[in-house]
Symmetry: C2
Subunit: 363 residues, 2 copies
Amino acid sequence: MRLTDLDTPAIVIDLDIMERNLRSVADYTRTHRLRLRPHTKTHKIPALGRRQIELGAVGLAVAKSTEAEVMVSSGTPDLLIAYPVIGRQKLERLCRVAQETQLTVSLDSLSAARPLSDAARGAQVEIGILAEVDVGLGRVGVQPGEELLALVQSIAKLPHLKWRGIAFYPGHIKDTAAHGLEELEKLRHTVSQMVEQLTAAGFHPEIVSGGSTPLLWHSHTIPYLNEIRPGTYIFNDRNTILSGACSLAHCAATILTTVVSTAPGRMIIDGGSKTFSSDRLAGSSEITFGEIREAPEASFHKMNEEHGYIDLHNTTAQFSVGDRVHVLPNHICVAMNLHETVYGIRDGEVVETWRVEGRGKLQ
Amino acid sequence: MRLTDLDTPAIVIDLDIMERNLRSVADYTRTHRLRLRPHTKTHKIPALGRRQIELGAVGLAVAKSTEAEVMVSSGTPDLLIAYPVIGRQKLERLCRVAQETQLTVSLDSLSAARPLSDAARGAQVEIGILAEVDVGLGRVGVQPGEELLALVQSIAKLPHLKWRGIAFYPGHIKDTAAHGLEELEKLRHTVSQMVEQLTAAGFHPEIVSGGSTPLLWHSHTIPYLNEIRPGTYIFNDRNTILSGACSLAHCAATILTTVVSTAPGRMIIDGGSKTFSSDRLAGSSEITFGEIREAPEASFHKMNEEHGYIDLHNTTAQFSVGDRVHVLPNHICVAMNLHETVYGIRDGEVVETWRVEGRGKLQ
């Protein structure tokens, strides 16, 4: 099928750009002897997880136990659930996954660790544990220092759990310009201190897993860090560009839409919040929901579920009902979650059709 | 199954409140001799469409042709696609639906009407048409007056299309306080003029279809209006409360979540933008993504895909890891689109399990 025959709205992926993105991060981690564990929340497709493993990833990361059930079919030798797993049904699912592949969970409390130990004993499996640390985002994680040490000491005593190291997510560092670099220096100091304190207490972390997309290319400058979990790098999006971690040439995924109505100075496209999500541009006060690739000066300023409002006053481009435009989304991960199927494109031809098997897996 | 056994996050629907909502709008439209055509974008579940028909709705509305394919299984005698249908695949799907049930499409251009006429001729079906008018929102729709008359005259000449009337969506009128009432008065004037001008030109509209949730209970005061297409009223949400069209007691749907991490003054719940959507509260500058029913003073101020950040400084309520809280969402329609399954609750018991069959139907 030709791209021009694809019904809209549809996420279309430039396969050459995607492959280049996958290889460049794989090369970077190989050069710096970092373990690469891609977070599959971005693509949610087992076949793409398999490609990441082929290119050298040590394993994959997911957020929920239902996502783990989906992603185990990628054949990954090792899976990390990077989220505290709370609740009986989730623990049951998780233990079934642990019977199929090596499983590690990151968590930040004994309230999460004790039931997990009980469930693992019941299922006769051993589950790896990373102690989650809050390095400044204020989300999950214990505080570095005494709180971390106490958690690790407790985990080490629980049967059927194997403490493997620490995990953190420096999502509070938004860019790598002036302020970001100062924050990065603080992070280096925090990580050093944590690892040295744990080691001094007899707990040497085999895995120090961290990083975020904005900090991707700085990962090798963080002492002791030996594993990164980037997600967005496979496709990239407007937020990744803004963070400084990529340029437009590295954005593999756009959303193909059709113009359904026009009026002087404006047009409506057949995608709104159900197609793009309502995510704003991170760290920007501008209200914009995507960039029209055929008219970058146009303003995609408003949405309803099925309608995208495009203001055309700042562009000389002209559009008619039935015209098709590619939109670069703010945040590709949440957009992928909204689409049943996405399409891989090479030379104007649809050469891959992937079901987004991990979409909507909330539990 | 008890509500307490349900895995989280999950949308739970208080069936008594839902039934009361359905009945009160059905009663209102019966009293005022208005045709009720619920927009099913809110629930996306054929069984609930069937219930709306049982209670007296004349038919159902959908936005896309894939939604029409899903909703035809409700057994509705009449279906409106309230969206311009552009593109070959969509027209093919639409014509197959028209072979199963009476179908009407609202549209605003000859670029939409001509291919529809051609497709209907090919499939040997007749399709009803409402001319879509822009009454102030600046979305789809021709301008009232000459532009509308010209569109209706052209539609009337196209074979296999049957012009049935006009449709509009006054989504620019956000509330019914001072400013809103002034806008409502303008709308009454616009609708009167349109209908009288069309009738004078020999085109008497059989259907005058309009209204929005904020204006729901004012529908009978709009001259000539004889059909309304409310969607959100089945569940209601924080936006409906803000619009003045309902109170908290009419909100049937909440999202049950689990506390997965705590720290002094804050907690994290297991639902973020993948569970609630990123929709802000309409017409409010406050950044809030839902109201915690167990602690209404708490602030749900930030999200990532799987994490909801709750600030607890303004509440005396205390929570531990594993506690479950009900969250009233800003916008229930987009939240329904994110869930594979939703649950109907009566007296603490899960008595209905519905698959959200129409979720993700984008084309």
